[in-house]
């Protein structure tokens, strides 16, 4: 009784705790609903795209994926050239980006003195901040002419015997797109690989060094295998970025609806064909077909991103990296 009387005035008002608890439930509910809204959002995206693409989906079904006929006037559409273009440019960018990116990450962790590490890391991250359209502009006016006049002739001269290396070295095409995409995905790969490689425990490095290993042997035997799933995740994240990259590619890819047969061929990727053709659709089937391409693009990036995130998370245990795509 003594205790009840000594409780502060405010606590003795009826319904006090009840009201505060009500607000707590409401607050928590609102916040949770908004957060779950992301889930709704992703579902809505898939639904809306599928809904708008339905005329094309019902007409072309899965044939869409391997037909090469893209004929807007006749309303006959097949997306294989774009799928091929996306695959080729993204995979090539993935290969180059991973080799150079992991190499740079190794440099930053194993070789670079600390006064070099921070500036170079920052400069690589700055690359990520440059807008896609600026990469495209640079691609059109700088990279393209360079390919046409310098790099292209060099490659044709020494590598022209390879099956996919022929034809005039135009300023636009697969090669230009691959170069730009490689540069654009480097920051992603370097930043994540750097974190993953730096996280390899000292005991592992010392273990192999104590057996008489050289620095490269240490990297090859103790560091890279330990870091491999994280590096793989970084690479796949880079791949996801390359697949979705639109404007820079649109400006240098050459806009051809034929399946490319040489690295210097003009082509189209799924993202760039949408960007270039959407505003000038000739009929509603055309628009539906482009949205169908968009749907495919969405599904592919969802899957690739999911795989990549799971891989990276397994290694970094969900710690947030400072690279935000």
């Amino acid at each position: 009784m003594q205790i009840a009387e000594s409780r502060p005035q405010i606590l003795r008002r009826p319904g006090f705790l009840g009201r505060y608890m009500q607000i707590e439930y409401v607050f928590r509910g609102v916040v949770t609903v908004v957060a779950l809204g992301v889930f709704v959002l992703v579902l809505a995206m898939i639904y809306e795209l599928a809904h708008q693409a339905w005329p094309a989906i019902s007409e072309f079904k899965l044939r869409f994926l391997w037909s090469t006929e893209w004929n807007p006037p006749k309303a006959r559409f097949g997306a294989l050239p774009f799928i091929a273009g996306t695959l080729v440019t993204s995979l090539l960018a993935l290969v180059f980006g991973t080799v150079i990116g992991v190499g740079a990450a190794l440099f930053l962790v194993e070789f670079a003195p600390s006064w070099v590490r921070v500036p170079v890391s920052s400069m690589v991250e700055l690359l990520a901040a440059i807008p896609s359209v600026v990469y495209g502009l640079w691609g059109v006016f700088v990279l393209g002419p360079w390919i046409q006049h310098t790099a292209g002739t060099f490659i044709l001269k020494y590598f022209g015997w390879l099956p996919f290396v022929h034809g005039p070295a135009l300023a636009v095409g697969i090669f230009a797109a691959v170069l730009i995409l490689t540069i654009m995905i480097l920051p992603t790969i370097v930043a994540i690989s750097r974190d993953v490689i730096a996280a390899v425990p000292r005991s592992q490095r010392e273990g192999i060094l104590a057996l008489g290993a050289t620095r490269w042997e240490m990297i090859r035997i103790a560091v890279l295998p330990y870091a491999r799933s994280g590096v793989l995740g970084a690479a796949i994240l880079g791949l996801a970025r390359a697949i979705g990259e639109t404007l820079a590619v649109a400006l240098v890819i050459g806009n051809s609806t034929k399946v490319p047969d040489s690295i210097f061929s003009p082509a189209y990727t799924m993202a760039s064909v949408i960007a270039n053709q959407f505003r000038e659709v000739e009929n509603s089937t055309h628009e539906a077909a482009l949205i169908y391409v968009g749907l495919l693009l969405l599904l592919i990036t969802l899957v690739v991103n999911a795989i990549a995130r799971l891989l990276v998370w397994r290694v970094t245990k969900g710690q947030i990296t400072t690279v935000i795509e």
Binding site: S122, F141, L186
Partner: protein, 290 residues
């Protein structure tokens, strides 16, 4: 070496020479990769300065584009449009992003939270052009016309994952003791979050917003079929509107030299702005995270 015979020794020294050579070659390649990655940045920035700076005139900021083909004019409409779009994106995207960040940090430490976090990261990876198509089908088709509003929605969707995750990160940096001190005083959780935790993390959250803004300022793909672009000055929220990256895209593919010059100058402005925002945001983020 007491156990080694003469032949074993020479075999070993050949082996050792080969290993040292491999090490030297690999080290050289790795160093080249390390230096090579900064080459693109230097080259691109170099060209931006070389081609953008000379074309930078005051008229860029004060004049609208003239009729196509006529030299002169500026990109005032694009700059104004970019600002309006950014404001719309912030107005529409921030509440949801911060709410999501609050959920993830304060209520989402379990399985549902893992699921939401995963989706937010996956959303971050959706190509911006796909988001553009989505908003086109969701809003533009239903409204019947392109609009700044639709563009703002698209940009808000792109900004959402960035700001959410940074908000979560910044909220997690607030020590648990701070929250517990508040609970011990009888303050309920929601009030603790609103009056104590959020303010404590506010400067970090601000930098997250800056990062998000820097990212969407440079986006043009989602605007292609939402805001559409506009050759005339317009600030109508429900009408098509121009944006700086859109104009750069248009001019880059245009046939006229004045368009190319203005594209370079506009890129210079855009990149400088984006870089300054990104760099300062990242520096602030890293300092807080330590």
């Amino acid at each position: 070496m007491s156990a080694a015979t003469g032949t074993a020794l020479s075999m070993r020294s050949r082996n050792r020479r080969r290993r040292k050579l491999t090490d030297a070659v690999a080290s050289g390649a790795i160093t080249m990769a390390g230096i090579g990655v900064i080459v693109p940045l230097v080259v691109i920035l170099g060209f931006l300065f070389a081609k953008g700076l000379p074309a930078l005139h005051l008229s860029l900021f004060t004049e609208n584009p003239g009729p196509t083909g006529v030299a002169g004019g500026g990109v005032k409409s694009a700059i104004a449009g970019s600002i309006l779009l950014l404001l719309l994106a912030l107005a529409m995207g921030l509440p949801a992003a911060i709410a999501t960040g609050v959920y993830l940090a304060e209520y989402g430490r379990g399985r549902v939270g893992f699921f939401v976090r995963f989706l937010v990261d996956v959303l971050a990876g959706v190509p911006s052009i796909v988001i553009g198509i989505f908003v086109y089908t969701l809003i533009v088709l239903r409204m019947g016309n392109y609009s700044a509003f639709a563009g703002g929605v698209a940009l808000a969707l792109i900004m959402l994952p960035i700001v959410s995750r940074v908000t979560e990160e910044m909220l997690l940096l607030v020590p648990q003791m701070t929250r517990e001190a508040s609970y011990a005083l009888g303050v309920p959780k929601w009030r603790t979050i609103l009056t104590i935790v959020l303010p404590a993390a506010s400067s970090g959250i601000m930098t997250g917003i800056v990062l998000g803004a820097a990212r969407v300022a440079g986006e043009a793909a989602p605007l292609l079929f939402t805001a559409l672009g506009n050759n005339f000055y317009s600030t109508g929220v429900f009408r098509p509107i121009d944006a700086l990256p859109l104009r750069i895209f248009t001019y880059a593919t245009g046939p006229f030299a004045y368009q190319h010059d203005q594209a370079w100058a506009s890129s210079f402005i855009l990149v400088m702005m984006v870089l300054v925002l990104s760099v300062s945001a990242r520096i602030l983020l890293q300092r807080r995270a330590r």
